[in-house]
């Protein structure tokens, strides 16, 4: 019964397991749907779908499979209408001219890609360039910087089960900042190095071993100690707060909060720079002149074992990077920006650069010369969840 529906769900990218499907059939067998179509819809959803970000896929599969049931059913047209809703998205990105990715795609091509993504995508994606999500360069989703894409949203006034389907209430959950934050947090969990594996003194009372030893001695107390199990990773964050970083404020904020919430690091220090790192780093994101410390001083406050994460778009004119007077709003102190970067790179053992605009291999254009140079100097990764994971892998890898 309904076996085709099972495959339809799979085709729409929902990973429905056999256990869940059998549970669903059992529920139907017990009459839990009450021969109500709406209840049937909810019953399937609560058993087969386990995250609200997949509600949308379920809706599409349900729509397609049961479309014959509703007589005044015009949903396929409706969907196409929603997919036309690109004009909505132009209202609030002041910098949209800067980021016209992929805008030459035709409407039908975009639609086809959207359907493909909807099928393949199986988790929330924010800050990326491919999946449906937010704050990224993908053609699909919200708050991004792609002009010719599809904004995931929809309204409708249909009745019964299809009313719920048609409303697409859950499409916007992919917008949820908390979700993208969690993805970052999960990634940051890997940034751990326990002192129990390092060569340190045994200073912590080991209760279990103490009990064992005491029992073995017939109740005469014998204390056992072990190495403390604490994360020894120290982190230095350097954020670019230059003008071209403005569109990525929300994304950087999420990353920053994820680091702060992770609170398992031994120490976290954060400094800011404007466009490029020169002789000074700023103490606050406003980058006010004078409110800074020298790079030498930063190195004294930290040590070479700090894991360094630089976040920036590396977008600057070549003279800003290479000229000994390239810093247009502060001192250079005799070295060019590039030399300062080399200086920093030589000091710390592990540095990664996370770039919200990074497309590996696509930095051959003349105005991307600086990015190319910095990408060759540092280990540069895109500022996405995957990029962060890769970067952390590098940070944790033994030298």
């Amino acid at each position: 019964m309904f076996t085709d529906f099972f495959y339809m769900l799979k085709a729409k990218g929902l990973e429905v397991s056999m256990t869940e499907w059998l549970t669903f059939l059992e529920a139907l067998d017990k009459g839990l749907a009450d021969s109500s179509f709406t209840k049937f819809y909810y019953l399937g959803r609560m058993i087969l779908v386990k995250t609200e970000s997949d509600y949308d896929k379920y809706d599409f599969a349900f729509q397609e499979y049961y479309k014959g049931i509703q007589s005044e059913d015009k949903l396929p047209d409706k969907i196409l209408e929603w997919l036309h809703a690109d004009e909505e998205r132009d209202d609030y990105d002041p910098n949209k001219d800067l980021y016209k990715f992929n805008q030459k795609r035709t409407a039908s091509e975009v639609k086809r890609m959207f359907n493909e993504r909807l099928t393949e995508q199986n988790s929330e994606h924010n800050g990326g360039n491919f999946w449906i999500g937010t704050s990224g360069g993908s053609a699909f989703g919200h708050s991004g910087r792609n002009v010719g894409g599809i904004r995931v949203a929809g309204t409708s006034g249909m009745r019964s089960a299809f009313a719920v389907v048609g409303e697409h209430k859950y499409a916007d959950f992919r917008q949820d900042r908390v979700l993208s934050m969690r993805q970052f947090q999960v990634a940051f969990r890997r940034l751990r190095q326990y002192s129990s594996r390092l060569d340190v003194a045994k200073t912590e009372l080991d209760i279990d071993k103490t009990i064992d030893s005491t029992c073995n001695q017939g109740g005469i107390l014998k204390l056992e100690y072990d190495k403390p199990r604490k994360n020894t990773v120290k982190l230095l964050l350097l954020f670019d707060c230059g003008g071209t970083m403005y569109p990525f404020t929300a994304l950087c904020n999420t990353l920053f909060q994820a680091v702060n919430k992770a609170n398992h690091f031994k120490d976290v220090k954060t400094y800011y720079f404007h466009n490029c790192i020169y002789s000074h780093v700023y103490k606050s994101a406003e980058c006010e002149l004078g409110d800074w410390i020298k790079v030498d001083e930063m190195m004294k406050l930290t040590d070479k074992d700090y894991k360094v994460i630089i976040v920036g778009d590396a977008a600057m004119a070549p003279e800003e990077l290479y000229d000994k007077t390239g810093n247009y709003r502060g001192p250079n102190e005799g070295l060019s920006g590039y030399e300062w970067n080399v200086f920093i790179n030589n000091f710390y053992k592990k540095i990664i650069w996370l770039n919200p605009k990074y497309h590996p291999g696509f930095n051959t254009a003349h105005w991307m010369e600086s990015e190319k140079a910095l990408a060759e100097l540092y280990h540069m990764y895109p500022l996405t969840v995957d990029g962060l994971k890769q970067g952390i892998k590098y940070l944790m890898a033994p030298k």
Binding site: S17, T19, E20, E26, L32, M46, K50, T51, R182, Q185
Partner: protein, 270 residues
């Protein structure tokens, strides 16, 4: 079905949620509830317990909670201590086995409700450690070689704030429901369930302000249902004129708790 959940006088549940509760009970599967903070996830278990007249066991999960804690703990230190002074009953291990909330729920004579609150607070692997126990509704106490088995399967409600991703194997066994943030209509119902009499104009103005604040992009911690109710209480006690709400935003601190959020609201207002 003898167990049908209809909400209670103070807990307003959507039809889908009620259906989810019924299905979970009928299929004897844990009900996993997810949703924004303040959408009444924890209160649901209390409401079910009240509506069905069953005892409620609450297991609050913290970041340090281990699966074992919910089953039982063996107080070895107490036993060691007692043994040194020759206290009676030291030779009986069962004396030092203390059941956790899950254990208590299994051991109960009647059917009970078990709430596992904020399961995502614990370690990433935590839910996997409970798979067998929740499936079979039994566990084995090594020390006494006894099996604790539920006489009647408890109704298990699990809540999550989506702080961490839950493992697939665990999810497959659950009935899932996402509580969406209540819209105005539902919110009115919820508010009416909490107040005997509320001035209609005050409620309207307060709701306008409340939903307006929730739309401000820069507000990080959006006010939730419980904050709205507290705010309404404060407004009713002070007897402030409803028309002034939007303009003056009195007692804003009740709705919005963070400094930067307060500033964001005031900036938007100005």
């Amino acid at each position: 079905m003898e167990n049908t959940f209809k909400g209670t006088s103070t807990y307003i549940a959507s039809p889908e949620l009620m259906q989810a509760v019924d299905v979970a009970i009928a299929l004897e599967k844990p009900l996993l509830i997810k949703g924004e903070p303040g959408t009444g996830k924890t209160m649901l278990a209390e409401a079910i317990s009240e509506a069905l007249g069953k005892k409620l066991y609450i297991w609050n999960i913290k970041s340090t909670t281990k699966a074992q804690d919910g089953l039982y703990t063996y107080d070895t230190v107490q036993r060691l201590y007692d043994s040194q002074f020759g206290v009676e009953g030291v030779d009986d291990i069962a004396h030092y086995i203390k059941l956790g909330q899950l254990g208590e729920a299994f051991d109960s004579e009647d059917q009970v409700i078990l709430l596992i609150d904020e399961i995502d607070k614990a370690d990433l692997e935590f839910p996997n450690d409970l798979l067998w126990e929740l499936d079979k509704m039994e566990f084995y106490i090594h020390e006494t070689k006894k099996t604790i088995k539920a006489k009647t399967r408890p109704i298990v409600i699990i809540t999550s704030n989506a702080e961490k991703e839950l493992p697939d194997a665990f999810l497959r066994r659950c009935i899932f429901h996402y509580i969406a943030f209540p819209d105005r209509e539902q919110m009115t119902e919820i508010v009416n369930a909490h107040f005997d009499k509320i001035d209609e104009n005050l409620l309207k103005q307060a709701m306008d302000t409340f939903y307006w604040i929730r739309t401000i992009r820069d507000v990080r911690k959006k006010p939730s249902t419980s904050e709205l109710i507290d705010w309404l209480k404060a407004l009713m006690i002070s007897g402030i004129e409803p028309e002034r709400l939007m303009k003056e935003l009195p007692y804003l601190g009740v709705l919005v708790k963070k400094d930067e959020d307060l500033n964001a609201v005031r900036k938007e207002r100005a």
